[in-house]
């Protein structure tokens, strides 16, 4: 019964399950983290550029970015994955599972990150930019010296939340059989039938990653907090 989960020997069972399947689990976790890292890097670049374009209302780019953001945010990521992996081959575009794995979460995270950074950049008071102009900064220099450091800090917590969601969403790559941690644990479960141990290992893996990342938010928030005046 459920109370059996509270039995101290249960944690031992989970531990020995993890040890028995160490090699597969480590490889799978590495793939989860690799795909997440690529997607996070890409989503940061997308978010910074398009977020800046949106905040500064750069013609055409800003409108196109808005369409991208709305389409991605208002459709389920799983349908986007289906589009990339199962529908595109119809017009001759065949992507590898690995490519779809990082691409899908990167496109998804990039849209959310565009909003994070747009909000961050727009939260920088106009008087700061005016002060930059008064000091003789040109447009780009005002952005890199004033808007980016201040707005970037404001956007940081919400952008890390998006990165956490990116990591969680890599679990959906199960549908394209990309061997990240969720896919691999289900395969091991099918072979060993150690269901409770398998899913406990899977859950613990994600919670360790996600909880560490949220702890990072709290640490960074304290470190990078702006003086009250600048908000």
């Amino acid at each position: 019964m459920i109370l059996g989960l509270l039995d101290p020997s249960f944690l031992g069972d989970v531990w020995s399950f993890a040890r028995d399947n160490r090699d597969e689990l480590v490889d799978a976790l590495r793939r989860t983290l690799t795909v997440s890292a690529i997607a996070i890097a890409g989503a940061s670049i997308i978010g910074l550029t398009l977020g800046a374009a949106r905040a500064h209302r750069i013609p055409v780019v800003s409108q196109l970015a808005a369409v991208y953001v709305e389409v991605i945010r208002n459709t389920p990521i799983l349908v986007q994955i289906f589009m990339l992996y199962f529908a595109l081959p119809q017009i001759g575009i065949r992507l590898e599972a690995f490519t779809v794995a990082w691409l899908a979460v990167m496109i998804w995270g990039g849209a959310f990150n565009t909003e994070n950074f747009r909000a961050g950049f727009e939260a920088v008071p106009t008087r700061y930019r005016e002060a930059g102009a008064a000091l003789g900064f040109k447009g780009i220099a005002t952005f890199t010296n004033i808007t980016l450091p201040i707005g970037g800090r404001i956007a940081l917590p919400s952008s890390i939340n998006t990165y956490i969601s990116i990591v969680k969403n890599t679990s959906l790559m199960y549908v394209i059989s990309y061997p990240e941690i969720t896919t691999v644990v289900l395969q091991i479960n099918a072979l060993t039938l150690q269901t409770v141990e398998a899913f406990s290992t899977l859950a613990i893996s994600y919670l360790v990653i996600v909880w560490s990342m949220s702890a990072l938010i709290r640490i960074l928030e304290r470190h990078l907090a702006l003086p009250e005046e600048a908000r």
């Binding site: 959906l172 199960y174 479960n189 899913f199």
Partner: protein, 222 residues
């Protein structure tokens, strides 16, 4: 220009089976998440350590796990623990979505309840309300103003996340679309782009007005 023959049956199946189940699942998940979330979030404001720690743990676990993993736990791991905990795909999906959704609502409710000034609690107590009455009739109605925009946002997320239940075979929108794509492929026709594209359009038409509504409410009720 006449519409191609394959569209009729596909549209009928996707709308009658898929859309209906998606909306049903979303409604159940929204109601369940709100009821459990608001209760847990309000209880979280009580300064009693054991309940606080338990509710905190509940929130952090179900917010921390990918929804797919929660679905797998409910669908595959619970029956392994006890055969009484065997659910069909839609029920398992609804349970998983409620676990995740209620954790989100609980966290937002805690903030909303704590944002109501102390004086409101004191005034309600002075009028003779007990803890339950105070929260149900005085604090909650005020906290609801703050809660409404995030709840609409949650509804959008719930609707989109119902697609994840496709993975265990529940016949919601995406699953109904996939079945039709496979049927047509079997008959030698390729229409994956059109069908999945239509699914994206359906989700967009439902989600976009709701995201706008959420943003509007946030501005108005702030």
């Amino acid at each position: 220009m006449s519409t191609p023959d394959w569209i009729g049956p596909v549209a009928r199946y996707v709308l009658e089976v898929g859309l209906r189940n998606t909306l049903k699942l979303s409604a159940i998940a929204l109601v369940g998440s709100t009821l459990i979330g608001v209760t847990l979030g309000t209880l979280l404001t009580i300064r009693f350590l054991p309940t606080r720690a338990l509710i905190r743990l509940y929130i952090e676990i179900w917010r921390g796990l990918p929804i797919l993993v929660t679905i797998f736990i409910v669908y595959f791991a619970l029956p392994a623990v006890s055969s009484a905990l065997r659910f069909d795909a839609i029920t398992a999906g609804a349970i998983a979505l409620i676990l995740w959704g209620s954790a989100q609502v609980a966290e937002t409710t805690r903030g909303a309840v704590q944002s109501i000034p102390r004086e409101q609690h004191e005034a309600a107590s002075a009028l003779g309300f007990g803890w339950v009455g105070r929260h149900a009739f005085v604090i909650m109605p005020q906290a609801l103003r703050r809660l409404l925009p995030p709840l609409v946002g949650l509804l959008v997320n719930i609707i989109q996340n119902t697609t994840i239940v496709q993975i265990i075979g529940a016949p919601e929108l995406l699953e109904s679309a996939e079945r039709q794509v496979e049927r047509l492929t079997f008959e030698g026709e390729q229409h994956a782009i059109e069908i999945y594209g239509a699914i994206m359009v359906i989700f967009f038409c439902i989600s976009f007005p709701l995201t706008r509504l959420s943003a509007y409410l946030e501005r108005r009720l702030a």
